[in-house]
């Protein structure tokens, strides 16, 4: 019995020392080079969503390049503002990296969350997807022109479903209305799947969503895409025109992208280090496989170019939301 106690005591002592040793590792991180401790990636959505899946994929590949563990934390809530608030309350040292998408500047523009693009530094985008305007295969609208013609004759009558208010689908729909000078009714659902259900059930006239949402139904011949939002035709659907070709100059590369952000004030060299790692991630085979399986395109943009994109989305969305209030 006594021996057993001694055994447990030794184990306990060993555990405590190893714990203390682990603490010591972080104590003098000031003068070391980035990264010398584990990095957290903050996901503003709950576990299992597309943003979460991507971040976990990135984290597992990036660990190798960083040479440090990357921990993924979900901080859902407040349309992303809980995660954003958390991120800007940490040190500006590059150890807290937030995931978000092109929806972030849009929610900022809507005034839904009390932040502006000045509250974040965009580090890099990783993947993107184009938007589509699609109808059921048995719809009378064979082309986008048919759709526009009907909408012009019956303003406000067509119901176009999409995911969320003040998000990417909403802005896309507003831009289509703006560019084609038509008026239809955008009805928001909680997610692309729910919106698609309404289209399939014959309860809506069209859907404005990202390409991945309708892809399976298009392959099955149930749904027809009228136009895509990328600047060039997409390899998957070479016969389908872009909005730009159809004369909607404002819907040019209207993409949904996912990327990473850090707190303003983060040192330049740290941001560059993160960019390098993320670049290596996008070039890895595993990531290419992930993008292909989830029907997304790899889309790596950084620096000033990305900042311009971010600010453009913000200003453009702000203008649209005000005009279509």
């Amino acid at each position: 019995m006594k021996r057993k106690k001694l055994f447990y005591f030794t184990i306990l002592l060993l555990l405590i020392t190893s714990l203390l040793a682990a603490c010591g590792d972080n104590a003098n991180s000031e003068d070391a080079t980035y990264p010398d401790k584990s990095i957290s990636m903050i996901v503003p959505f709950s576990a299992g969503g597309p943003g979460d899946v991507m971040t976990r994929e990135v984290a597992s590949i990036a660990e190798e390049f960083f040479g440090q563990t990357v921990v993924v934390e979900n901080k859902p809530g407040g349309s992303g503002s809980v995660a954003l608030n958390h991120t800007i309350n940490q040190e500006a040292d590059g150890y807290t990296i937030m995931n978000h998408s092109s929806t972030l500047p849009q929610t900022m523009a809507s005034g839904e969350i009390p932040f502006t693009p000045d509250d974040v530094i965009p580090v890099a985008t990783m993947v993107s997807n184009y938007h589509v305007l699609a109808v059921m295969a048995d719809s009378p609208f064979q082309t986008f022109e048919d759709f526009v013609e009907y909408a012009k004759e019956n303003p406000g009558e067509l119901n176009v479903v999409g995911s969320n208010t003040n998000g990417a689908n909403h802005v896309f729909s507003l831009k289509v209305m703006d560019g084609a000078e038509i008026d239809f009714n955008y009805v928001a659902y909680d997610g692309g799947g729910e919106a698609l259900t309404r289209l399939l059930g014959g309860n809506a006239d069209a859907i404005g969503a990202s390409g991945e949402v309708v892809q399976q139904q298009v392959e099955a011949g149930e749904v027809r895409i009228l136009a895509v939002s990328s600047s060039e035709r997409v390899p998957l659907h070479p016969d389908i025109p872009t909005f730009k070709e159809l004369g909607l100059e404002n819907v040019d590369d209207e993409l949904i992208w996912r990327g990473f952000f850090v707190k303003p004030g983060t040192p330049e060299d740290v941001i560059e280090e993160i960019q390098d790692v993320l670049k290596s991630v996008t070039e890895s085979e595993e990531f290419a496989e992930y993008a292909e399986k989830t029907n997304q395109d790899i889309y790596f943009v950084t620096g000033e170019e990305l900042e311009t994109i971010l600010n453009d989305i913000y200003n453009e969305s702000k203008d649209l939301f005000e005009r279509y209030k």
């Binding site: 576990a47 299992g48 407040g78 969350i113 892809q215 099955a220």
Partner: protein, 500 residues
């Protein structure tokens, strides 16, 4: 299609069986921890599936889903801490039965009903997938609005000991559900500038606050009380007689669960509540409900596991996830390189049939493993209140925090707990508040979307064929409630005249 022509050797591989058993144990464990439900469980185990073959990968997730739905009722029954809306329906009769000294029986009713519910859901999944999916997809916003209204009337009519109070409870629940960003316009409502309230009041914080924390406040009255003194009462089992007694409720719950589960956006929570209220409504002795009536455990438990099979219907046939949990499973299919959609039945026949059969095996595994592990949880009730209360409070706070990692939600739970204590003392109906809170967003958004789509025309609720069927059911229910009220009244009058 022929489900029986399936080559079973694909299912009886080491990897597949291991996936089912591991998923079962993991699901039971995650489900039993309040705050972590099926969705979190599936998301946590998702990385494990990357290295598996498609069939074991999906079976692992399906087993976790099935068992987490069942496991949620364990903490509900034993500790009075509900982790999901579905488990809250179980709590209403499960907790009193356990506290009366029979936690084993309460867990036994729950396990047996869950298993049968799971099997019925599985059989419906196997046989009716395609026709059911075709009906479910036709349900539009007007129908969802009407279903929500049916739910509210059911619960309002049920807890009508005091009609004005039950009406006020429903209104309070609806009010709670309005907090947060309005999904139609994107403007914030009743958030008072708080970022944490933008997404609304956390469902788990409300459930746990309303039932667990308020209950703890009641328990403070008797610190030396011990609920279970006989050890044999801990065993998870019910007798054949007891089983026969609840069989009808199990079948009712199973079918309600399977069909409500098919409808995207409704799922296990509303299904359990619908089953509970229906069984209470049709019961000969509705006054026993809430005091440990076995039928009140059997119906919602069968329903929440029936809903698992139901929820897989639109996922497997159309690639449409109707719930957060199935959305994660959809992600797993994508990672396996399988695109779910209308073509999947043709292109991946073996995989789909493998999932069907594996689903049934997982349900049976849940029964066997559940039978031998759940009694461990019941042991907690042999403790005296002064030890039990801190344990419950700790589990409560960890549960709420774990669900969102936001300390704000813990405060919400505590505030709601105190409020619920007062409301309970004043005889308001907590189930009415909860059901209104769950159904509120469904009713509101589907009403506004219907109106938006019809251009303001209210007849949209009466002209569609599915709407008319639901309105028919609604009228029948109102008549049934009215008749039973009349009966009770005349009975009371008779008894009174006899007594005098």
């Amino acid at each position: 299609m022929d489900v029986f022509a399936f080559d079973f050797s694909a299912l009886f591989t080491l990897q597949a069986l291991f996936a089912i058993i591991f998923g079962t144990i993991f699901g039971l464990f995650i489900g039993a921890l309040p705050g972590l439900g099926a969705t979190v469980g599936i998301a946590l185990i998702l990385p494990v599936t990357f290295t598996l073959d498609p069939l074991p990968a999906i079976l692992l997730l399906v087993a976790v889903y099935q068992c987490a739905e069942y496991g949620g009722s364990i903490s509900s029954i034993v500790l009075g801490v509900p982790g999901t809306p579905a488990a809250t329906a179980t709590l209403i009769d499960g907790l009193p039965l356990a506290r009366k000294g029979s936690p084993g029986k309460a867990l036994g009713y729950s396990l047996t009903s869950s298993t049968i519910g799971g099997i019925v859901g599985g059989i419906i999944l196997m046989t009716l997938t395609i026709p059911l999916a075709n009906i479910a997809v036709k349900f539009g916003d007007p129908e969802f609005f009407l279903i929500g209204i049916v739910g509210l009337i059911l619960v309002g009519g049920l807890s009508s000991k005091d009609l004005p109070k039950s009406f006020l409870s429903v209104l309070f629940g609806l009010l709670l559900s309005m907090i947060g960003i309005d999904t139609m316009t994107g403007s914030a409502r009743f958030t008072f500038g708080s970022l944490s309230l933008l997404d609304g009041v956390s469902m788990i914080a409300v459930l746990i606050g309303m039932f667990a924390i308020s209950e703890v406040l009641f328990m403070l009255g008797d610190l030396r009380k011990r609920y279970v003194s006989k050890k044999e009462n801990l065993k998870t089992k019910i007798s054949w007689e007891e089983f026969k007694n609840v069989f009808k409720s199990i079948m009712k719950g199973s079918f309600i669960g399977s069909f409500v589960g098919v409808l995207p956006g409704l799922g296990a929570g509303p299904a359990s509540w619908f089953a509970y209220t229906e069984v209470k409504r049709s019961s000969k002795n509705p006054e026993d409900f809430g005091k440990g009536e076995p039928n009140g455990i059997a119906a919602p438990e069968a329903a929440n596991n029936g809903a698992v099979g139901g929820a897989l219907v639109p996922l497997l046939t159309l690639g449409l996830p109707g719930s957060p949990a199935t959305a994660v499973i959809l992600g797993a299919f994508l990672i396996q390189g399988i695109q779910l959609g209308p073509n999947v039945f043709k292109s991946e026949t073996n995989l789909i049939y493998g999932i069907f059969w594996g689903f049934l095996i997982a349900t049976v595994a849940m029964y066997v493993i559940g039978k031998y592990t759940t009694s461990l949880w019941a042991r907690v009730l042999t403790l005296q209140n002064y030890i039990l209360i801190p344990i419950i409070l700790l589990v409560t706070i960890i549960g709420v925090y774990a669900s969102s990692q936001n300390i704000f939600d813990v405060w919400v739970a505590i505030a709601i707990g105190v409020l619920a204590y007062i409301l309970k003392k004043l005889d308001f109906s907590l189930p009415s508040i909860i059901l209104a809170f769950i159904l509120g967003p469904i009713i509101e958004t589907s009403f506004r979307r219907s109106i938006s789509m019809s251009g303001g025309d209210l007849t949209v609720f009466f002209t569609r064929s599915y709407s008319q069927i639901i309105i028919g059911i609604l009228i029948l229910m109102l008549i049934a409630i009215f008749i039973s009220h009349r009966k009770q009244k005349t009975q009371k009058v008779k008894e009174e005249t006899k007594a005098s």
